[in-house]
Symmetry: D3
Subunit: 241 residues, 6 copies
């Protein structure tokens, strides 16, 4: 299989993470993976959802959307339709759950960090890009809280990144583009921590069920990609914004 731009099966697309892409939010990160671009903003709100009230614990939650022409043909706005699609709900629940797995809500205190992931351009892998970028935006929001002395100890417990793997025309490949994704036999999204543990594994056989050997290959490839993403996150965070 020939991948676009001569990319190897185990190779990520070029990744770029820009902090402070806009000036207002506590965190504002543009993540670009190939042609996929997601703007991840972090907003701190000094209240929590009703189910956390009085627990002393905070909350981290995410919302995900695409601008209508992020896609090859224009997609109708969910606001115009008057409701979210199942796909959007599924993705924003995944992002929130992933981020909560590396933050100590007790140390965060009774406040919420909102992560808004707005896809400006979509070429596959938007949900994993959103997790990877939102992690950096969350780091910036936490930094803001510590500078304001609103929290004392850093609640973030580990790094976090995500990538897609899959099988396309029989090949096990890393970081699927839209073209590849649309014809993949298997599509799997993996979220891992810096400690090399799994937070989420979501694998779907679109047409052809897969066996354990495939699975082991997917996991190995995903870990490799996630390691690279964590390096890009690290150098973005270390750069003085």
């Amino acid at each position: 299989m020939q991948r676009s731009n001569g990319r190897a099966n185990d190779e990520l697309r070029p990744v770029k993470i820009s902090r402070q892409f806009t000036n207002i939010p506590e965190g504002s990160v543009l993540i670009e993976i190939g042609e996929t671009r997601v703007l991840c903003t972090a907003s701190v709100e000094e209240k929590v959802p009703h189910f956390q009230k009085g627990t002393g614990k905070g909350w981290v939650t995410a919302e995900y959307a695409m601008i209508p022409r992020a896609t090859q043909t224009r997609t109708q706005r969910e606001a115009s339709k008057g409701k979210l699609t199942g796909r959007t709900m599924e993705i924003q629940r995944l992002i929130g759950r992933a981020l909560r797995s590396v933050i100590d809500l007790k140390k965060l205190g009774e406040r919420t960090i909102w992560l808004d992931c707005d896809v400006l351009q979509a070429d596959g892998g938007t949900r994993t890009a959103a997790i990877t970028g939102a992690y950096v935006a969350m780091i910036d929001a936490v930094q803001y809280l510590m500078e304001k002395k609103l929290i004392r100890t850093n609640p973030v417990q580990d790094t976090l990144a995500a990538i897609s793997v899959g099988k396309v025309q029989g090949n096990v490949v890393l970081d699927l583009e839209y073209e590849e994704d649309s014809k993949a036999e298997v599509d799997m999204n993996i979220v891992m921590t810096g400690a090399g543990k799994f937070v989420e594994i979501q694998g779907t056989a679109e047409d052809i069920p897969f066996d354990r050997t495939d699975l082991y290959n997917f996991l190995e490839l995903a870990e490799k990609g996630i390691r690279t993403l964590m390096e890009v996150q690290k150098s973005a965070v270390e750069t003085t914004a």
Copy 2:
């Protein structure tokens, strides 16, 4: 860890599959796994969604709901709220995708099989019970189509069942009840075919990320449970309804 009713960690709850639970639908299956009970009905509709029109291919889709008092405290109806929750959407997309993986839509022809999974009582594992029961209801609907000579060759390619596994207080356990699920460190749903291949793997670390050894244990346990479920499905299907 002591499980209820002295159940072993690798043991399923009692499973019962009743066909023709109601008389009107083409398939009507009540599946009971412990205290969890899901009514799965199959309806044949002689048309397909717009994206399949003119392709000669059929469609299989699912809807999932709970009656309000399936749960310990009454849950507000989604019809009264005016919209589906993210959880419901996620589950019904999963059920539909899983069933489509074992049916040849070309052989089904341009018609739709609707699988309605209505949870009458919920004690954990409703989504995997729904998949396991809906598979049997789909078999009945296919049988109906063959008897009516609307289709000639059986489009069902393999058997299909699903189960949950997870880690509770450090123990790897099969088929989590509600009590266990609500305090699980890891929760994983596995959908497999009779050929022993994976159709879906959805694993989530609620609090504590998991490593590969955990994953391998989960998969082994799941396969064991799914084999048992497939035997129950088989004897239900073989019984003259």
Copy 3:
């Protein structure tokens, strides 16, 4: 006119009332009248709607729904459509009103009994079956409250049941099946108390207006059917659950 199963014009279909059909709710009753089956669950909630707050009085309310394939052809879920139909609203208002007519809300105290009537199979008379079954579920919920010593004196003041009558091809008939209902000239639903008084009379001439003689015949027939239903309720309640 020949009715199905050789039923006489003044004869009810076979009636069966099963208590504790599911285990979680305070009351859970499956009522079957011929092929019509309605699951009626009662849930106690320790709060009242805003208009009852601070009055010392409780509330009894009902919700009604059908699973999609309760009907001959699949009906779209109201949750998917995002709103209740007029028919559903009309029916659930009727059920709630009927049940409130035999309970002393002062004695119930500031709490709500929810009656959820979920139609599993529909063959005419679902709203009157729902009232008749929900009455038994309400009795169980009241029993629960008395056993828990949450209320001291039984707030239920009388028994309650409901039935349909109508005119089909010129014949005055009791307990219409779907086939009969769909071609009826007049369709009337009657709710009565054990004291033989009317709680609701809702009669509609679909095509041919009716006169007083018809009306008197309808009422007589309805009372006869309701007396039989009350016996079935009585023996169900007297059975140790």
Copy 4:
């Protein structure tokens, strides 16, 4: 019991029916019964709902609404809430059903008459006033169709009017005002034809169930009131508009 303005228990409030209250619609009738005022407009549309297409038959349907300050305290608009209340749905279904009972849909031909009943001021009895007024607006719309030679034979088969009766503080009374209605033990709406037959009987015991003697008294009183309303309709229709 002392009724307002010294009205007798079997006496209607003053009734006035004004045709051509607005100029645009095919029929436009303001009906005033005491302080209750309903504007009933009839609109002819040269198409039918999907379920009547190709049958050669027409349709008559109604919509009902109140302006926000028709009531003693301002009621929120249903358009602002984004949905119709159960009460509104129940009423507009009743009005449509009642009007269809006196029109031959075959003679009407494949077109729809919409009856819009907008309550400008509400003092009890709005639904029965709406039926009584909408009947006259429908007559005007039919007249328009005959003058335009769109239909040849008059499809209206009988006259139609409606009134409320009830029991207030033990008294059987005709045409309840809001004050009376809000404390009534029994509230009943009756729709009758000129031939003296019933189209709808909807009786509800709010607190105290009623017996057959009550019912017979209600019916007698209602018929008396309806006869008077039909005279007012007749003289309104006979006046050259």
Copy 5:
């Protein structure tokens, strides 16, 4: 250009303002401008929206709707559609904003005046008629508050009226009817105070952009029309209701 009824280009249609059109609201005004008729009711509510709470200031807000057959062909109810159109929202925001510009919210105190503008018949200029009529209804509501001694000093600071002007077939005209409006090159709505100042100018070139000379002509014409409207308002207010 020949206008209907031989009206001159700078001439208003006949204007009539009737107070106490209905009896329940604090203010109830029917304004008729030619065939356009709008019922404007004012309701006093002893609370304010959340953003005004605790400020000591009141609020004035408006809602606008048309009955379905106000228009030449029946328009679907927004309540049936389940949402307001953009046009309705735009108009009700305009009416509220205009009325707030002539009232001292501090003197009004923490209460709300709702102005409901229901169009009974529409022949162009409904939004400006609504503003002109709602002003009078607001005056009546303020009068009511002063008589009840709920407020001490009159919060109304100036008179207010509104009119449309535009260019039709090259002619600058005052007070456009529907026929004229639908073919206008420019359509402008002007809201002015008694002091001759502008509260709102909303001008739209439908097809042909306009220049400053046009604009100056529009403003002059509008002021002339608004002066006439204010005289009609004045004599309506001075009449003992």
Copy 6:
């Protein structure tokens, strides 16, 4: 009055227009005016709304949205709320109307150009920035249609830009920032063509009505600002993308 960055009252903020900000749409323009940033994408769709079908004419329409943290505090998504606010509807109707005023829909042919204006950061003047940026995106979409030979003659008849003016603390100022806008006495949005004519004038006195002299000053200032914006548009369009 001291404006931020020492800006003069008649001075625009720095303006930057970047074409091809994303790669997928037919037109993709990022417009930045000070801290306000709007992404305007143009999408061509080969069909028209139902009211244009069969007319041979095309359509140009706009949608407007803000990402949640475009604003100082996070704004809830309209998609989550399930409906558009009145403000959004008003703005997107304005943008569409403005763009249609400079395009010959006959020459465009039966196709639609969608202009999606997504505000990434909001600091006042987002609607006028959206019009100014969307014009350039529309030019790019038209260019695309001409290169594809889908249209033969350029349907764009004139240039178009928009700006806000207003009165702040008694000063007539150009291009209001959020801080200024929130305390402005008068706020006016002006849309003009290259020929110096008005397409839209929308002026609102928030507190203090304005007179004609103010209006003339507003118009002069607006025209000055719009001339500058048109130069920036021109040089952006002339740059080879």
